[in-house]
């Protein structure tokens, strides 16, 4: 294959391009041609296609997510809001906490162990990139019916993957959820949350400024994993027989990630970086375009300097590769040597792959030939925005009318019936003890876990001298949300809020993972619109801003969407963790109160 350079693109305007296979729509492809004033090169097309995918561009959800900003409650606690890798919250005593929940649903269905493992890896790098030391993880999960044969394939792999990766990183697992419901049979939900702690002055942002500053790629070598994964995996629907395409699956290396964490924290401590970004979905396409567009000036990358695991990769593939455990940093020339030294200490490969330039373009070269020449903002931020049609489903009234209200639900009228009802509840997999899962997770490592399973919220001490701590709970109820998306999202928030308060912490901020079906279905889009509206309204009332989160769409099997499942995480602060309130009765003779009505 000949190299598709910018010059070549200019000379061959009519060349056929696989924009459709890469998930782009005709009008999106036309937009790209308009932005560039020519046809894109293969490498440019790769970048636009991954960055403009639903997963990276939030093109269907953006118009609704805006409300989290518009209805943002006044809060002194927000240090960094939506838009960065993760939001940052002031928790006092000079400390800041960052937390975020993300999904890895589709990859985990295809390859449960690696899908879930790399889900943990991805969210941990997001938190690290903010300048924080990751201190805990949580894992809200949804599976199909407990007795379905495919649950047997999916569940043990997912749990082992979360444990395998999180345990090896040395991050305590302080909570999560396990819910079984047939609606998740062909589309389990694997959401992962990470909490990180830093001092205010350590906050780092993803931006590249200052001409002459170096772009350093460090961590794992780049391989052929997950190429096209972003656009295909996260945006296409599975049919009932399983995944139609089997794109390369990413394999995680938690040991490499542990080294990445330690080296990065040492690099932060010595103040060696100006801007930093993790490589997640969309890999280098995302990191370079986001860093460049958030800064001033342009960027020049020599793509052939990227260390490869597979020497046959083309520039397009290198730009799209989702190889795990990589980060990209902007470093002043005078600090490069020390940066590389720290990486060497931790056996982490680090390479200068380019620099910040005076111009306004992101230019990428392959053995001296220009293969990408784009305005970085057009890749990272100016993706399409859809106002998808939505309408209250025709079946919504019937569904609500059929709901078991107090009047219609037959109450047990005798001992036998009461026993049967009790046994039915007690025997439900959703009520059963989760210890067979949580016993596979390390909750002790780091030695700061104050509350973890089976408590209402997870709580972590962040200062051993003052006993300052934070707590997090996640909740979500797809059945409620299906019945009434507006209220269902609010219920999820209220429950997580209560769980944090019950442990003794003051709720401060919210992160959310919005798991829904196809946005192209007006019914689903209505659920999404209602749930976001409900969540934004409730956050305003409770005074807890949404600091960030993640949207996962196309969660469906064939035409059937999962229950709309917004998972809401609430973060709280407690100034003295020794005053925490565990669940359970501590001593005989204590009084029991019921609060609320």
């Amino acid at each position: 294959m000949t190299l598709d350079t910018v010059k070549n693109a200019e000379q061959t305007p009519e060349a056929d391009q696989p924009w459709s296979e890469l998930g782009l729509k005709a009008d999106e492809y036309a937009r790209i041609r308009e932005i560039l004033g020519r046809r894109p090169t293969g490498a440019e097309l790769a970048m636009y296609s991954v960055m403009w995918s639903e997963h990276c561009s939030y093109k269907s959800s953006k118009v609704h997510l805006k409300q989290f900003g518009e209805k943002k409650p006044d809060s002194d606690a927000m240090l960094v809001g939506i838009g960065e890798n993760a939001g940052v919250v002031d928790v006092g005593q000079g400390y800041a906490v960052t937390f975020k929940v993300e999904s890895h649903n589709h990859p985990s269905y295809i390859e449960p162990y690696q899908g879930a493992a790399t889900g943990i890896g991805g969210i941990v790098r997001d938190i690290l990139a903010m300048g924080a030391r990751p201190v805990a993880v949580m894992d809200p999960l949804r599976f199909g019916a407990a007795d379905h044969p495919d649950t047997r394939r999916v569940l043990p792999g997912i749990v082992a993957g979360i444990g395998g990766y999180g345990n090896c990183l040395g991050l305590p697992n302080i909570g999560g959820e396990v819910v079984f419901d047939a609606c998740y049979q062909g589309n389990p939900l694997v959401n992962a949350l990470c909490v990180g702690v830093m001092k205010h002055e350590d906050i780092h942002l993803a931006q590249a400024s200052g001409a002459g500053n170096k772009v350093i790629l460090y961590g794992a070598r780049t391989g052929g994993d997950g190429i096209g994964g972003v656009s295909v995996l996260a945006s296409e629907t599975f049919d009932a027989t399983g995944p139609a395409k089997r794109p390369a699956v990413q394999v995680g290396d938690p040991f490499q990630e542990k080294l990445l964490i330690e080296s990065t924290l040492e690099i932060f401590a010595e103040k060696l970086v100006l801007g930093i970004q993790d490589l997640g979905g969309a890999g280098l396409s995302c990191a370079t375009s986001e860093l460049a567009s958030a800064g001033s000036g342009g960027m020049r990358i020599e793509l052939d300097t990227v260390p490869l695991r597979d020497n046959t990769l083309s520039p397009e593939e290198i730009l799209m590769s989702e190889s795990q455990e990589r980060m990209c940093a902007i470093v002043e020339p005078g600090k490069v040597a020390r940066f590389l030294e720290i990486c060497e200490k931790w056996d982490v490969i680090a390479t200068v792959i380019g620099e910040v330039t005076e111009g306004e373009r992101l230019e990428i070269f392959w053995h001296g030939e220009l293969v990408v020449d784009v305005p970085p903002r057009s890749v990272a931020h100016d993706g399409p925005t859809y106002n998808r049609p939505y309408a209250r489903p025709s079946w919504q009234d019937a569904l609500q009318a059929d709901a078991p209200t107090a009047e219609r639900l037959a109450r047990p009228s005798n001992g036998e019936e009461l026993k049967a009802a009790l046994l039915a509840v007690a025997g439900s997999p959703n009520q059963a003890s989760k210890s067979w899962i949580t016993d596979q997770y390390d909750r002790y490592v780091i030695g700061n876990t104050v509350l973890a399973t089976p408590e209402d919220s997870g709580m972590i001490r962040i200062d051993e001298e003052t006993n300052l701590g934070v707590s997090v709970a996640t909740d979500g109820n797809g059945r409620f949300t299906k019945l009434d998306p507006y209220t269902g999202a609010q219920l999820a928030l209220a429950e997580a809020y209560r769980n944090v308060a019950a442990g003794g912490a003051k709720p401060l901020a919210v992160s959310d993972c919005l798991n829904f079906g196809s946005p192209e279905d007006p019914d689903v889009m209505w659920q999404f619109a209602e749930a976001t509206r409900g969540l934004a309204d409730a956050c305003l009332v409770l005074g807890t801003p949404v600091t960030g989160g993640n949207v996962s769409l196309y969660n469906q099997t064939g035409e059937t969407a999962i229950h709309p499942t917004p998972v809401v995480a609430v973060l709280g602060v407690i100034d003295d963790v020794t005053r925490r309130t565990p669940i359970g009765f501590a001593e005989e003779g204590q009084l029991v109160y019921l609060l609320g009505d």
Partner: protein, 84 residues
């Protein structure tokens, strides 16, 4: 009894962190000249009956559906040579 071996290796394009860790350690231990290391699994199956085509076909199916994860792994089924 007859023995059939199933070797399961990660596909070449899939990252093999274990093999890499071994490869990086070897030179430190004084073993130079090794360009690449991949680590996989070896299953030794002892059959009750003879190793005929039918038995091999069944084992191949077991490897395909169970012993290997063909999303990320390749496998080879072979009859163990005498004297091993």
């Amino acid at each position: 009894m007859a023995r059939v071996v199933v070797d399961v290796m990660l596909k070449p394009e899939i990252l093999d962190p274990q093999g890499q860790a071994v490869q990086r350690a070897l030179p430190r231990l004084g073993f130079a000249g090794i360009a690449d290391v991949r680590q996989g699994k070896r299953f030794e199956l002892e059959l009750e009956g003879p190793v005929d085509d039918a038995a091999l076909a069944r084992i191949r199916e077991a490897a395909e559906t169970f012993l290997a994860n063909t999303v990320i792994e390749d496998f080879v089924v072979r009859i163990e040579e005498e004297g091993k």
